[in-house]
């Protein structure tokens, strides 16, 4: 939350320059952010709302929507828990291999998603290192739901931890130690001090993680095998429909995916707005 603005402007630029800069920012926002989004929705509704809805309720499309939501519903909580644990360990303790752990957390950011997907295929595929063993035990990972989940977990791994590490590092251990000297058990301390102190950062990390989990294309495309109605998530479905010149169906799906992302952002704004009093009182973010 921004602090209240000073009574007198501290900027010294002349009004025309200020107006020009503001206009430039607005124009950029329009061109880079709003226009593409508007085009997606306009194309989706070109043949009317009912056509768009019909394309979404078509069997394969509906299966892609369900699959995407399911992958996100499983991977986001897992990454939230693991990210929270990793951030806590990194921010509050010193241990051997800490630098390595930080680098590993960043790895999914630096590796191309396609490479990540390919690596999973090479590891778990039928000709892969673990493929023979997996086949012997009738476990199917590549071209199936577990593969999609693994790829999504890998890609979204850094989001929660990266949001939390700076906040937790800045806050230090003192409040947690205070809770312990006051007799709180480890779990009570975590619930009443650690978690409330980072819950905005955690929420933000989870939202970013969720947006990426639903939108991930590269890694998931490689490992899914693109089996229509079985392993196609929404982004893959969009690409397939677009390549088949089914533009209303493609853009309807794209509009829905964008709407899901906008919904999570709206949710975050709503939460921030509802807790504005506490936020300003405790001066976080």
């Amino acid at each position: 939350m921004s602090e209240s603005s000073p009574p007198h402007p501290v900027t010294t630029e002349a009004p025309p320059i200020r107006a020009l800069l503001t206009l430039a920012v607005l124009a950029l926002t329009l061109v880079l952010l709003i226009a593409p989004l508007a085009v997606v929705f306009a194309e989706a509704l070109r043949d009317g709302l009912s056509a768009a809805l019909a394309s979404l309720t078509e069997r394969d499309a509906w299966s892609a929507i369900r699959l995407t939501l399911f992958v996100a519903a499983v991977s986001v909580p897992l990454n939230a828990i693991v990210g929270l644990a990793a951030a806590w360990a990194i921010a509050k303790f010193d241990f051997r291999g800490k630098a390595v752990l930080i680098t590993l957390i960043d790895l999914p950011f630096s590796v191309s998603p396609v490479v990540a997907g390919l690596a999973l295929v090479l590891l778990y595929g039928s000709h892969g290192w673990l493929g023979v063993w997996l086949q012997a035990h009738e476990l199917k990972i590549v071209f199936a739901f577990p593969g999609l989940l693994l790829a999504t977990l890998f890609i979204t791994f850094p989001f929660v931890a990266r949001e939390l590490i700076p906040v937790m590092t800045e806050q230090g251990r003192a409040e947690e130690e205070a809770a312990l000297t006051l007799g709180a058990s480890g779990w009570h301390m975590f619930r009443t001090v650690t978690l409330p102190n980072v819950h905005w950062a955690l929420l933000y990390g989870v939202l970013l993680c969720n947006a990426r989990a639903m939108g991930e294309f590269g890694a998931v495309a490689v490992i899914s095998g693109k089996i229509r109605g079985q392993t196609t998530t929404m982004p893959i479905m969009i690409e397939m429909l677009y390549n088949e010149y089914l533009s209303v169906a493609a853009f309807s799906m794209a509009a829905l995916l964008a709407a899901l992302a906008l919904l999570t952002l709206a949710l975050k704004s709503l939460l921030e707005w509802r807790h504005a009093d506490l936020l300003s009182a405790t001066r976080r973010h």
Binding site: E177, A178, L180, T181, L182, G183, T192, T282, R283
Partner: protein, 259 residues
């Protein structure tokens, strides 16, 4: 509570923070650990609280070995250097924290908690700030809230880490008197860490002067001032007004004089 520190040593990795130190703190005393930064005084205080484990040696509380007792069961009231108030809780919730953290059967009823918190707010002479958040308090108010929070659980000893470090001179004098009053009223064994020799000398019954992880001398303030046991103690406790011009001149001479 009688505290015995028996040959405690501590090292972080290969860096020694405390060489074996021993110190006996009689019940109800107010003792200061005095020393420059890096002398090991805070480490020793944290070992007393159970926030650090010693590498060797024992902590005896009322004659009983408490070295392995977890921090939650030590029942120490600890005031942290930066106070470490819970920033997302009101002053009331901060002070009530220790009581609410107790297991259900040992937890006082809500009305009793309210009564106790109100009494503590009276004790620190801030009855009107219960609903505020720590960020809305002055430094001196925060320090007093931290003290009230530490006292709320009825601790067996009070440990304070540089309790007046971040305050201006006037507030510091006021709060020193306040701490002494609270100590005399509760009779709690109190140990505080400071680097300010004047603070240690005016407030404590006994002072332990520390340097480089060792206790150089333990004694009443007058004793330490009049009969310093080592050169370090003599230099460290010399009233700053008397020594400052001489030191200043010496520094000036050494930096400006041609060699």
């Amino acid at each position: 509570m009688h505290i015995d520190i028996d040959e405690i040593s501590k090292s972080f990795g290969t860096t020694p923070a405390l060489h074996p130190v021993s110190l006996s703190i009689p019940s109800g005393a107010m003792v200061s650990l005095l020393g420059p930064s890096g002398s090991g005084k805070t480490t020793l205080l944290r070992i007393l609280a159970g926030l650090e484990q010693p590498s060797a040696g024992r902590v005896l509380l009322d004659g009983r070995d408490a070295t392995g007792t977890p921090v939650q069961q030590r029942r120490t009231g600890f005031v942290f250097q930066s106070y470490a108030l819970f920033r997302h809780m009101t002053v009331f919730e901060n002070i009530a924290y220790g009581l609410r953290a107790r297991p259900r059967r040992a937890r006082p009823r809500s009305a009793e908690i309210t009564r106790r918190v109100e009494r503590l707010l009276e004790l620190i002479q801030l009855p009107q700030i219960a609903a505020r958040y720590p960020s809305q308090l002055s430094g001196g108010q925060r320090q007093r809230v931290a003290l009230a929070r530490a006292l709320a659980t009825e601790p067996r000893m009070l440990l304070l880490d540089e309790p007046f470090g971040a305050l201006d001179a006037r507030v510091r004098r006021e709060l020193r008197a306040g701490l002494r009053e609270i100590h005399d009223a509760t009779g709690l064994t109190t140990v505080f860490v400071t680097h300010d020799q004047e603070e240690a000398m005016t407030l404590a019954d006994r002072v332990a002067v520390m340097s480089m992880g060792r206790i150089e001398q333990v004694g009443a303030p007058a004793e330490i001032r009049n009969r310093p046991a080592t050169d370090f103690v003599r230099r460290f406790v010399a009233p700053s007004a008397d020594i400052a011009p001489a030191v200043g001149r010496a520094i000036l001479d050494s930096t400006t004089a041609p060699r």
